[in-house]
């Protein structure tokens, strides 16, 4: 029989619907892979019984001849930022350790309604703040990939959706949810040779997703190929009255609309993304991408996004500012950790709880956010950043008069080793230099694998599209995927 854990979402769905295997067989195969991969630390909690229970429901539906849904019989991993009814939801923090939501996030509920089952809750950077999955209270996630130098250094799976990227590339799940605030879907996807898309801001409901920076946070799928991302995004997206910024628009049929023919399409190459001292292997993969899209029929045009270099500093004002407001809710009163020192008053309880409950990176960002929003500094920092953000969005608006999609690298480097950048927050932040502009402008953007570098590590290419044009992004991604022929996968050293 086919090895079930090698199958894509589309193949699992087809096989279950066609009776080649049962949904329970699929769930059990992935449950076994999850159980054997504790060394990767990709899951905070495994929920094998949930996966089997959902699979049994799908098999029962099939027996009755009912529709199995867009994700019928597909077990997935759920980033532990999504509230799941009755299952601990931590945002990888001590603050929320033991927090058991009494409700289900809109996105996860939609996935269960579409026939998916839950293999477990995936590790991440604490409160989604990080680019290497080294800020989790529950320990680092390890990438299944290793350099081919034989050194066996543990590599970063990217972040913040590092549990998701590690699990999908290690075949612990065929797909997983991610969230992207400033690259947290795309960068981990690139680091691990998988595919991930952040849709237009507002496509996926934020209701029940632990908030980091609300004007940027957006959920999306991470899977092995473009088709699977299209399938899963369709199941996740849709208007939700419980999210005030949810887009009240129908969900397009992205899967049915997939078309890798780029004839008549213009692909913009932003000259400002070609930075001094860039890794020649990244430049080469970018050139490969350009050649592939030309081969698919696209016309390639040089474009300018003049404020690119200011995107990252603007992001590191705006995101911490929003985080400092959002995370004010963790006060030891209503849920989560409470630290009440002997004889302490209310204010002391707040301060002690927050000192214990937040990790160093989260504190750093809350401190920056509090500072840039404080009296006397608001205009110089926060307001200036919001003006620069408007200019970055305008840059993209102007680019769309010349092109339909934009092609760029996802990251400035391949995966780095765990510990390499932890002593210098700035060097870690710089990893998101290519991802952040699209986030600030709320645009759909995806990463697809382009190939391996000379160390044997995956590199990703990023496609950025117009607002609401996920289809254009997916199609360009598919054109690249078909030509890149990326089939590499990590050796299962952890088994």
């Amino acid at each position: 029989m086919t090895e079930l854990t090698e199958l894509t979402v589309a193949a699992i769905r087809k096989g279950v619907a066609g009776g080649d295997f049962t949904a329970v067989e699929v769930a059990e195969a992935f449950n076994a892979n999850v159980a054997a991969a504790s060394e990767l630390n990709a899951f905070i909690v495994a929920t094998p019984e949930k996966a089997v229970e959902a699979a049994q429901a799908v098999d029962a539906k099939r027996a009755k001849g009912e529709d199995l849904g867009k994700m019928g019989g597909v077990p997935i991993g759920m980033k532990d930022l999504f509230a799941t009814n009755g299952v601990q939801t931590t945002a990888a923090s001590h603050m929320l350790e033991g927090f058991v939501p009494q409700y289900e996030s809109t996105v996860s509920q939609k996935l269960w309604d579409a026939g998916a089952g839950m293999l477990g809750k995936l590790n991440l950077d604490q409160f989604a703040m990080g680019s290497s999955n080294e800020t989790s209270y529950f320990g680092n996630v390890i990438s299944p990939w290793r350099r081919k130098d034989g050194g066996n250094a543990d590599l970063a799976p990217g972040g913040s959706s590092g549990g998701s990227s590690s699990a999908v590339s290690a075949r612990l799940c065929p797909a997983a949810t991610g969230t992207d605030t400033g690259g947290s879907i795309r960068q981990p996807a690139a680091f691990t040779g998988i595919t991930g898309i952040k849709p237009t801001y507002g496509r996926c409901s934020r209701w029940g997703v632990v908030a980091f920076a609300s004007s940027l946070d957006q959920a999306g799928p991470m899977a092995r190929d473009v088709t699977d991302c299209a399938i899963m995004l369709e199941a996740m997206a849709g208007f939700d009255p419980k999210d005030s910024t949810s887009l009240d628009m129908p969900v397009p049929e992205w899967e049915a609309g997939l078309n890798p023919d780029m004839k008549g399409k213009k692909v913009g190459i932003p000259r400002e993304y070609r930075m001094d001292g860039m890794d020649p292997e990244i430049l080469k993969s970018w050139d490969d991408g350009i050649a592939w899209l030309k081969d698919a029929g696209a016309e390639v045009v040089d474009i300018s996004l003049p404020h690119t270099k200011y995107a990252l500093p603007a992001y590191y004002i705006i995101a911490p500012a929003e985080a400092s407001s959002n995370l004010a809710r963790y006060d030891g009163v209503r849920y989560g950790l409470r630290d009440l020192p002997e004889g302490a008053g209310l204010q002391d309880m707040y301060a002690a709880t927050r000192a214990d409950g937040f990790g160093p990176e989260v504190k750093r960002r809350i401190m920056i956010g509090t500072y840039v929003l404080s009296a006397g500094f608001y205009d110089a920092y926060y307001n200036q950043a919001q003006k620069v953000r408007a200019l970055i969005a305008r840059d993209f608006e102007q680019a769309w008069s010349q092109c339909d999609v934009i092609l760029a690298p996802t990251c400035p480097s391949a995966a780095f080793a765990l510990g390499d950048k932890t002593s210098d927050p700035l060097s870690m932040y710089l990893n998101d230099v290519f991802a952040v502009p699209a986030s600030l402008a709320g645009l759909p953007a995806m990463s697809v694998p382009a190939g391996l570098n000379s160390e044997g590590l995956p590199l990703g290419l990023q496609i950025i599209g117009k607002a609401f044009d996920e289809q254009g992004v997916l199609n360009a991604g598919l054109a690249i995927e078909q030509r890149a022929g990326f089939t590499a996968k990590p050796e299962a050293w952890w088994k």
């Binding site: 939501p101 009494q102 409700y103 237009t200 801001y201 507002g202 940027l216 009255p241 419980k242 005030s244 910024t245 887009l247 009240d248 404020h307 270099k309 200011y310 500093p313 603007a314 590191y316 004002i317 400092s324 004010a328 006060d331 030891g332 009163v333 209503r334 849920y335 989560g336 409470r338 302490a344 008053g345 209310l346 002391d348 309880m349 301060a351 927050r354 000192a355 504190k363 750093r364 809350i366 401190m367 920056i368 509090t370 500072y371 500094f377 307001n383 200036q384 950043a385 919001q386 003006k387 620069v388 953000r389 408007a390 200019l391 969005a393 927050p425 700035l426 402008a441 709320g442 607002a467």
Partner: protein, 100 residues
């Protein structure tokens, strides 16, 4: 602009994060490095530019003005609201005494 230890202590107090002397000392260079870097935004000419308030143009909706317009976010779920409280008491959130 750069911050000193007294400023860090003040921010920590505003952010309600207890920080001892050593933690404040450690935070000073970290914050200064990041603030020094974001200062480059000052060189951007933003004359006539309105700060962005909504990334995708969208009108904020109003919920129907009725009780429990959406049962999920409505009332009548006291026990669920209290289920994760560290110290629920008599159907309320318990906190340390705040009046003398």
């Amino acid at each position: 602009m750069s911050v000193d230890k007294a400023t860090v202590a003040k921010i920590a107090s505003l952010a309600r994060i207890r920080m001892d002397d050593a933690a404040c000392d450690a935070m000073v260079p970290e914050l200064n490095q990041i603030l020094g870097w974001v200062e480059q935004l000052g060189e951007v000419d933003v004359t006539g530019v309105e700060p962005m308030t909504a990334v995708i143009p969208n009108t904020l909706r109003l919920r129907d003005d009725v009780v429990d317009a959406d049962p999920l976010t409505g009332g009548g779920v006291r026990d669920k609201v209290l289920a994760n409280a560290p110290a629920p008491e008599h159907g309320f959130f318990g906190v340390p005494k705040v009046i003398e």
